[in-house]
Amino acid sequence: MLHAQAWQPIVTRTPLGAINQRVVDPFDRLFLQEYPKVVAIAYRVLADRPAAEDVAQEVFLKFHRSFSPDSERASGWLHSAAVHSALNVIRGERRRAQRETAHALDPAQPLIANPERLVEEAEQRREVRRALSRLPQRTAALLMLRHSGLSYAEVATALGIKVGNVGTLLRRAEEALRKEVNRATPE
């Protein structure tokens, strides 16, 4: 069994009121409001900051080409696109391991007294993402949206399911992930 690393919040959000007063263009306003969540979702899936930022860019560009920023469905679409795009990356990706190792040793990262621990944690994250990529897409998407900090209502909107079903599906998804991780890393 892999040992667990303490969860840390990763997002500092700008107050929406401040954005609304400052930014006139509707797309820019939507971007500034939703980018922290979109990139957080992609980052939670990929555990790779540059890759998550790339996914977030692609998601917003695709949105810009196809939808009005005033659409009431904008947030749900962005969250859904972020998680599915990121999951598609881990399913198809073969180069992530090298990138993440490079990221782990990024000199811009705070100095850490124990580099061996850092490498071990990076390996653990890779293992979990490999397990994640083997789950059904919908199961993995629900799991990652919730663990990226979205509320049950936001998860339901992004996936087109009832809020009342999120708890049950989440519970099953967590069990499925743990089984998959344990299967891959027997004691």
């Binding site: 667990a4 509707p26 922290p36 957080a40 663990h147 049950t168 519970r171 967590e174 743990r178």
Partner: protein, 370 residues
């Protein structure tokens, strides 16, 4: 009472306040559910730990700058769409008309729609054109105005209208719900193939917001008249489309500059409903905005019934217009150096026929469409 489900217990871990009162009462008095909850909470904590990632702070502003640069690059690299090629080639001097002052007037005229929850009960129809009239505009009047002003929140139900290009007549008819119109005969110089453009039906709403307008004006460095309280907070609901456009004379070669030889367009009449502001109040206010030349203001104010008349902009010096009888109604014949066109409204549909043709040829096509 039955024990709480695993899903409910899982939600208590994340969102304890979302628990219904009856479930809360059961949970408080049920030892079994508390034991199950602890197990579920432990699993949830273990999963959170498994999925943990190092902290980082997203840089939204710099990411937006990157996205904007990509959008600009993509737009520049995109080949022009057929209607953009047509506009650029056919009427380069008309392009200034796309500047905001006129755009506001046209948007007010062309906004169209469906009831919006909450305001539907109090909506009053303020625009539903049954006739057309010419408004002479001078392109040079608009060259100095480039400010984009934000008058308030715009919503589309479900999405903003989109133009789709098709090559098949039956598909165009099915998509638009409008009949594909065919002239009895085509004049010399007009030949196939025909391209079809379909604009989807759309309902949009604009809720005027004085604070938003002032902020955008300050940002653009322009002065705007204060928004009257009769307009601030009012919602306009616009119903527009669908529209069907048939174009002759475009080649398949996207790189080649082209001018269509004949265009036949039809759209269901747009309607505008208002939750408060009247046509006159809106007209007075919008015409007082920066960039609206006094000449245009006078012409629009001279329209007897602005709620049922669609103003058609005629570029001064480049085209002239005169009333004409078409298919039993009064329409507008427009003559230009490049060609001619006729516009009329009948049975809830606005029709337009134009091309590199003489007024007689245009009228012959308009009156023999079937």
């Amino acid at each position: 009472m039955r024990h709480l489900s695993d899903g409910t217990l899982r939600r208590i871990y994340d969102e304890p306040l979302a628990l219904a009162a009856a479930d809360q009462a059961h949970f408080d008095g049920c030892g079994d559910c508390k034991v199950r909850f602890e197990a579920i909470a432990n699993d949830a904590r273990a999963t959170t730990a498994l999925l943990g990632v190092p902290a980082f702070e997203p840089q939204a502003a710099s990411a937006l700058a990157t996205a904007r640069a990509r959008i600009t690059r993509d737009e520049a690299a995109r080949p022009p769409r057929w209607y953009e090629r047509w506009l650029n080639q056919a009427s380069p001097r008309w392009r200034p008309m796309a500047t905001p002052a006129v755009a506001v007037l046209l948007a007010a005229a062309l906004l169209t729609g469906v009831a919006v929850t909450g305001v539907a009960q109090s909506l009053v129809r303020i625009f539903e054109p049954h006739s057309v009239t010419a408004v002479q505009v001078s392109p040079s009047d608009f060259t100095g105005t480039s400010a984009v002003l934000d008058y308030g929140a715009v919503k589309w139900l479900p999405d903003a209208p989109k133009l789709q290009q098709l090559t098949d007549a039956s598909a165009a008819q099915a998509q638009s719900g409008l009949p594909v119109l065919t002239p009895a005969s085509l004049p010399r110089g007009v030949s196939g193939p025909v391209s079809y453009g379909v604009v989807s039906h759309a309902t949009g709403s604009l809720t005027f917001d004085a604070a938003r307008l002032q902020a955008s004006a300050a940002r653009a460095g322009v002065h705007v008249s204060p928004m009257p309280s009769s307009i601030n907070g009012s919602t306009l609901v616009v119903n527009a489309g669908p529209a069907l456009i048939e174009v002759w004379g475009l080649s398949a070669d996207a790189g080649q500059a082209q001018v269509p030889t004949l265009v036949i367009a039809q759209t269901r009449i747009p309607t505008v409903d208002s939750s408060g502001a009247t046509t006159t109040q809106l007209e007075d206010y919008l015409l007082s905005q920066p960039g609206v030349p006094p000449e245009i203001e006078a012409q629009i104010k001279a329209i007897k019934d602005p709620s049922t008349t669609l103003p058609i902009p005629i570029p001064k010096g480049l085209a002239t217009s005169q009333p004409v009888q078409v298919n039993g109604v009064q329409g507008l014949m427009i003559k230009a150096v490049l060609g001619a066109g006729v516009v009329w409204v009948k049975d809830g549909v606005i029709y337009a026929v134009g091309g590199q043709l003489t007024p007689d040829q245009v009228l012959a096509i308009a009156t023999t469409l079937h």
